[in-house]
Symmetry: none
Subunit: 242 residues, 2 copies
Amino acid sequence: MTTASGEADRVLVVEDDPSVQRVLTELLRRDGFETCGVRTGGEAPAAIADFSPDLVILDLGLPDMSGFDVLRDLRVHHEFPLVVLSGRADETDRVLALELGADDYVVKPFLNRELVARVRVRLRRPPASTRPRAGAGGPSVAVDGDLVVDHDAREVTLEGSAVELTAKEFDLLVHFSGSPRQVFTRGQLLAAVWRSSGDWQTEATVTEHVHRLRQKVGRERIVTVRGVGYRFDPRTTSPTTA
Amino acid sequence: MTTASGEADRVLVVEDDPSVQRVLTELLRRDGFETCGVRTGGEAPAAIADFSPDLVILDLGLPDMSGFDVLRDLRVHHEFPLVVLSGRADETDRVLALELGADDYVVKPFLNRELVARVRVRLRRPPASTRPRAGAGGPSVAVDGDLVVDHDAREVTLEGSAVELTAKEFDLLVHFSGSPRQVFTRGQLLAAVWRSSGDWQTEATVTEHVHRLRQKVGRERIVTVRGVGYRFDPRTTSPTTA
DNA sequence: CGACTTCCTCAACGGACGCTCAATTCGTAC
DNA sequence: GTACGAATTGAGCGTCCGTTGAGGAAGTCG
């Protein structure tokens, strides 16, 4: 029952010691995972792009850069579960790694079956992570009735004529149209759309942008869920029509 | 910055050793969690119903029953993250606990700050973009005869037509429909649905909301258990059908 | 390098919605 | 018949949302 739907989960192992690397990949492969290994933190980004892992095992004691830096970088750009391996058992290191975004911290030397079990637990939680990230995966154009959202061109047309959206308005619309009928709280929208800026904005900002967006794409497309947040409702005109 | 919007996460500690119990609850409380402690596995279900924890810490070495049995039972009925504590360091125990549904396994004696860090990791809110779509995990739509409860959209339809529910009414319905035929006292419903506001509301408020909910989803679905509370009874139309 | 434009942020306010609770009526158990 | 618990109603009041406008940052053009 490891892999519900045919496809094996992919695990990327970032580990400089060749023997540990071999043990890990062999263990995981025997357990039904697809694996890929790199030796340095510098190679990780490319490997992630090529391999699209569902989970990453990261050795903190890499030769080329601080493991904590690698960890932070990975966490900023990616959402897959991240299991940290380390030779250091200090509490400080453990806490730091976990707070930087690691989902688990395993001290070397590790127990083989336990490590595999921990990997499986991390892959069990979020059942099917949304894979369509890398270029080819997701559709670059979302359509809803007479509203067309072109992600690549960052352009929106309504009834055939272009709609001028600002950057934030567009990001907001993309987020909404990517999960139709899903209710988002203002906090969630802040986290998703205002991700870049370090300082936390007020939730009033979200309210105001929703207001602007409504004026431009039609008031009825974004419905207010009082006490909770907002939801993007696709135009379900008369289903009989077409 | 712990949680997005004000509300403290609740942690239930199931641990027989009083001193460990005290250390744990004190640690967590100092870190901003609400805590509740019980001493045996047998007390756990009632504590969960009353306290509605967001995470449970479970000592495997309980006096009254096998920790593994408790673990399995909890996992069957609940979805909250579950951190296992144990004095036993054998790999077999670790693997077994993880495969039975534990989300983490910490060996005693534990490091205080690490344990808190691990609790926080398990409670870390999944980024909005990772939200499980309809499908696995927790079903995002509950159906009962002609009543459909869409959790993501926070929308309810009865016989195909939409029902307008307020925020509290919806939360209440979700809680009920998540545990059909389970009787809840008004106090339990307050703890589960009215969790945000620090001051305890009157139980009369629950009565009144049940009343409103009945008007909207059908009187017969919510049964009064006199002297105790309420229970959600699914439409057991003709069992012969289907 | 400076003026202009665009857009982001947030505070302020009016209005509406819904939460809360008290008071009264109803039903049931003893 | 009486007493206790639940149902129902209604009104006060707090909270949340929509809207507007001003201040300010960032980018653009001359």
